[in-house]
Symmetry: C2
Subunit: 255 residues, 2 copies
Amino acid sequence: MLNVIKIGGNVIDNEQALKSFLVDFSAIRGFKMLVHGGGQLSTKLSEMLDIQAQMIDGRRVTDAETLKVVTMVYAGWINKSIVAQLYANGCTALGLSGADANTIPAVKRNPLPIDYGFVGDISPARVNVGFLRSVMEQGAVPVFSAITHDTKGTLLNSNADTVASSLAIAMSHITPTRLIFCFEKKGVLSNLDDDSSVIPEITRDMYAEYKVQGIISGGMIPKVDNAFKAIDSGVKEVLIKHATAINTGGGTTIK
Amino acid sequence: MLNVIKIGGNVIDNEQALKSFLVDFSAIRGFKMLVHGGGQLSTKLSEMLDIQAQMIDGRRVTDAETLKVVTMVYAGWINKSIVAQLYANGCTALGLSGADANTIPAVKRNPLPIDYGFVGDISPARVNVGFLRSVMEQGAVPVFSAITHDTKGTLLNSNADTVASSLAIAMSHITPTRLIFCFEKKGVLSNLDDDSSVIPEITRDMYAEYKVQGIISGGMIPKVDNAFKAIDSGVKEVLIKHATAINTGGGTTIK
């Protein structure tokens, strides 16, 4: 089973949590891939450089200057730091953006009705599965930032959850694949104030119901949407769980 | 013949020159690798972030903050921008730091007598030749920044000329290899004020003489030293030439 694992920005921002996660990740046997989010460093760097954050409906617009910052931070510092740490743990990693070996070609999002700037949408069918298989067969573990490209020379900023689910969907056509979203909670919670209220399993019917009741809301909705899309597209299993629990049970299984 | 080509910071800093170089580079047939220097962006970024440059004997010290900046700029923005542009030119590239797939393990330079900080020295014998061969056989062109690692979790800043010569030496053990240093001059000049005074060929005896006479001096010395080291270690040919001339004649051949 290939494990495609995504870690969120909260883990990236906590040096100890990241270190501990990378030890656990290194211990996973068999084929695996890592996708990392960005964390606060790019926001901090933008502020230090006086780049004004443009927001539309609570979403950041990736203008040319912001694209430079996120590429430096995600594909540069964070990606290479993770790769170096993994090697020290005995895990030979290969840091990638979607531009590298054209692993993840993307399409710049239509500026109408809302222009989010240099944001890339991904089609799993275009992922360079052959190259990734070959890299893994060479014993290297792909580690992705969420920077992609439009194949015409322009880098793009993509959503890390979508990068992870797209990679998992693409790889599921050649090998059984599990997708794990790791973050700072133990799973999808039925009560946000109670960290132990993990919903062990969510079916599509339950999901519809939870949304109506407002139990699943906000940032969790795109994550669970991505999870269902992955299941519908051939991924064997999707788990949403705490970053400290990748090698143990628990979490929420999407079915 | 494998071509290992290094472009300097002056080319990186000039958008049009870089674009034009990348078109020429894409047109080279057969196996090839690119190593790129840094340019002024990291200095500019350091200034904007109020990171004081520490210099010893005219050489910059890579402290922890500077390491972060050069990793962001070299391995992040510059590397990924080049990779995206190459793909647009029909050249599938794979951006690498020396940490990626442990392609270039390095050793942190001894802090005595002078502590240059996070600077990595490279031994060509440790280059991961097998991985690079496999990548090229897959049709991807390795594109290196000069960021390496100590294999214990720490990234290091290496000299881009040395990265290029180390890669060429390492690869020369498995395939005939040519090393080309591209920069903003037409070759090694006998008169720095006369851009047409290119020395077509330099042997070791001539080099000794030129150094005594002060004809070859300053930053050209480590470049020519690297060139001779490469020739002595198995590289078939080393050329020093203008970045606009990689597919044409001219330049200086080191014999």
